[in-house]
């Protein structure tokens, strides 16, 4: 009986002991949470609230209906998605091709090429456009070379200031984002699997199609999702090409917000951009989680 009576004492202590660390944990999460709220969430909320402001001064959906119904917005949305998807497909094709060569076709200097790819990842995107201007611009090196050979005075290459120029620059800049995860996936692919596949009579193409790519598929998808996310929000390349006919959502936000001071209109487009980005980001995280889970299962 005594034992029964004495039991509650330690039992009463136990929750106190457990609750102390829990409070500390909560306290530790407050500072980073505040930073995120102030730096990231609050501006987004302000953008959303700004989009609901009317020219007359009140709140309403007037700005939303006028912006979403405008031809300029629909055209920019379509162009943004078209450029992003085309660039992503281009990056996936070029990136896969280059990654396969770097990983499975050893050649002198392949290590240097690999490091160059890493270097591109660290450069700002507008530098690529600048380089494109020097190379393929109307007064660029390639046109000068063609002119000196053909004697023509008009530039032979004139694609840089069109959607094709933007796509070419984006493919050049974002392809390493596909190559890097693919190379990582190829590096962990057991050599023995490739040897056995070959010994079973599979041609190199079949080994690539049936053994290598299925195992690298999650890495390819993760790289592709990341590129789609980045190209959707790309501003520097589009701005630097100075393409008059290429108005994407980020450029439209810039034009409305900075050039014409239509902040509510810019906020509506920015909100659409945020939603698009968040949806893509969630998709990217889901694919990334699948890649990670797949890797840990194999272990």
């Amino acid at each position: 009986m005594t034992a029964v009576l004495e039991r509650p004492a330690p039992a009463a202590d136990a929750p106190r002991r457990a609750s102390a660390p829990r409070i500390r944990q909560v306290l530790w999460t407050v500072p980073p949470l505040l930073v995120v709220l102030v730096v990231a969430v609050y501006p987004l909320i302000r953008v959303c609230l700004e989009s609901a402001k009317l020219r007359s001064g009140g709140l309403g959906l007037g700005t939303w209906t006028s912006v979403l119904g405008s031809q300029a917005f629909r055209s920019a949305l379509w162009r943004t998605v078209a450029i992003a998807v085309t660039s992503t497909v281009g990056c996936l094709i070029l990136g896969t091709f280059l990654a396969i060569i770097l990983a499975f076709v050893p050649f002198p200097g392949s290590a240097i090429v690999g490091r160059l790819i890493d270097t591109i990842l660290s450069l700002p995107s507008f530098l690529i456009t600048l380089a494109f201007t020097f190379l393929y611009g109307t007064a660029g090196a390639v046109n000068a070379l063609i002119s000196s050979i053909s004697g023509s005075t008009s530039p032979a290459l004139n694609f840089l200031y069109t959607p094709a120029g933007v796509i070419a620059a984006e493919i050049t800049f974002f392809t390493p984002f596909v190559i890097r995860p693919l190379l990582a996936a190829f590096a962990v692919l057991p050599r023995a699997q490739l040897d056995v596949a070959a010994s079973l009579g599979a041609s190199p193409l079949r080994v690539l199609r049936s053994v290598i790519m299925p195992e690298a598929w999650p890495a390819l998808m993760a790289g592709g999702s990341l590129v789609l996310l980045l190209t959707l929000n790309e501003f520097g390349i589009v701005l630097f090409t100075g393409a008059k006919g290429v108005i994407t959502l980020p450029v439209l936000i810039y034009t409305r917000g900075i050039v014409t001071f239509d902040l509510p209109g810019a906020a509506v487009i920015a909100t659409v951009q945020i939603v698009l980005s968040l949806v893509l980001y969630i998709a990217y995280r889901m694919i990334f989680a699948r890649v990670t889970a797949g890797g840990s299962r194999e272990e």
Partner: protein
């Protein structure tokens, strides 16, 4: 079907059969290594992984490549499979030179230690992979996959993914995958090394059954485990330092090891320095630790060893052949116990024997015998004491 993939390519060169016998099946050579060498690197940094390797394997024969790590046994297998290109010599399969052929054109079944199953394919798809690569008709693939899986007792696992199988099951699938293409040559590179001891024993028994079930398939079995080699191989190739040291039947290598390396590696024999006395035929009297004992003085099938009286030799005695006796025994050599380790069915006793300075002798005493380190005991040589091995020049 065996010819698919192999038959599609014209031989680059052919080698005459080793015999003119009308019964070609018995005399054809399934695998022929002709002075094969493999080296990596260039100039001063060159590493020889295989040097002047010669070996012929008949159809239906199982040959084990046995040796320590880095001895070149896996390199030999890789050269045969086409995974590495020999820097010298030639490789033949069924008399056809395959030295420069890619692995896909050789028609060899390969089973590796790591199983190397394709993780995204189900078991049946893994087994069907080789058949699809060889463009076997769809109607034939199903029965062939079922047959291969049945052969390794995995019929009910066809729809599983490799990660849903145990190590032993994965290795069975790997074997089924290699057998599905009905290869004339099956290469097994340490197939049991990744399995636990119990599973290894049961898989070893299954491989023995498989060998019986494939009487026409030549097998090259790479291992560093002598028990696997002894259990499976018709002949054993002992390798060391990228070279073939000895090749013979398992029994011959065990009973009469031609070299001290083989004697030590295969069964961990004691090699005791001795002096050869009188030799009559294949029997010799030898002087060892101030005693004269009888020993076998073997002669090779080709050539002759001169066991000259007074010459130095090594007396090869297996640890289990030595007997621990009381010091009062008239045949006993006085010895001191250096260590005693219980190994389950035997106790390995390490002894310093009087008259054999700088030489430790291993003795396997039956059961769990207790020996105090430092104590003195008697050890008795068997009759005949052992087999003579030439001292390494």
């Amino acid at each position: 079907m065996t010819e698919i993939g192999v038959g599609a390519v014209e031989p680059t060169d052919t080698k005459p059969a080793t015999s003119t016998s009308a019964n070609a099946g018995a005399d054809t050579v399934a695998i022929d290594f002709d002075r094969v060498g493999v080296a990596y690197g260039r100039g001063k940094k060159v590493t020889h992984a295989l040097i002047d390797f010669n070996l012929r394997v008949r159809p239906g024969e199982t040959v084990a490549l046995l040796g320590p790590s880095g001895s070149g046994k896996s390199t030999a297998l890789n050269a045969l499979a086409g995974f590495v290109r020999p820097t010298s010599g030639r490789v033949y399969l069924d008399g056809r030179e395959v030295t420069d052929l890619p692995p896909a054109k050789r028609g060899i079944g390969v089973v590796l230690q790591s199983y190397a199953l394709f993780p995204h394919m189900r078991v049946s798809e893994n087994v069907a992979f080789g058949l699809r690569s060889h463009r076997v008709s769809r109607s034939e693939i199903g029965p062939r996959v079922a047959e291969a899986l049945d052969m390794v007792g995995m019929s009910s696992f066809g729809k599983r993914l490799p990660r849903e199988l145990s190590g032993g099951q994965q290795q069975r699938v790997a074997i089924a995958r290699a057998l599905a293409i009905r290869p004339k040559v099956l290469l097994l590179d340490e197939p049991l090394a990744a399995l636990d001891a119990q599973l290894r024993q049961s898989m070893l028994a299954e491989l023995q059954q498989l060998k019986e079930a494939l009487p026409d398939t030549a097998m090259l079995y790479v291992t560093h485990d002598q028990s696997e080699a002894l259990a499976l191989a018709d002949r054993i190739v002992v390798m060391d330092n990228a070279r073939l040291m000895d090749v013979d039947t398992a029994e011959n290598l065990w009973k009469r090891p031609p070299t001290s390396f083989t004697a030590a590696f295969l069964g961990g024999a004691n090699l005791i320095p001795c002096t050869v006395g009188r030799v009559i035929g294949t029997s010799a009297l030898v002087q060892v630790a101030n005693k004269t004992v009888n020993a076998e003085a073997p002669q090779p099938a080709v050539g002759k060893i001169d066991w000259a009286p007074g010459s130095a030799a090594l007396l090869c005695i297996r640890p289990h052949a030595l007997q621990i006796v009381s010091l009062g025994n008239p045949d006993a050599l006085r010895a001191k116990v250096n260590a005693a380790v219980w190994r389950g069915s035997t106790t390995r006793v390490v002894l310093s024997v009087n008259g054999l300075p700088d030489q430790l002798i291993d003795v396997d005493a039956p059961g769990h015998a207790a020996f105090e380190v430092g104590s003195e005991i008697g050890v008795r040589f068997p009759e005949p004491a052992g087999v003579l091995v030439q001292v390494k020049q």
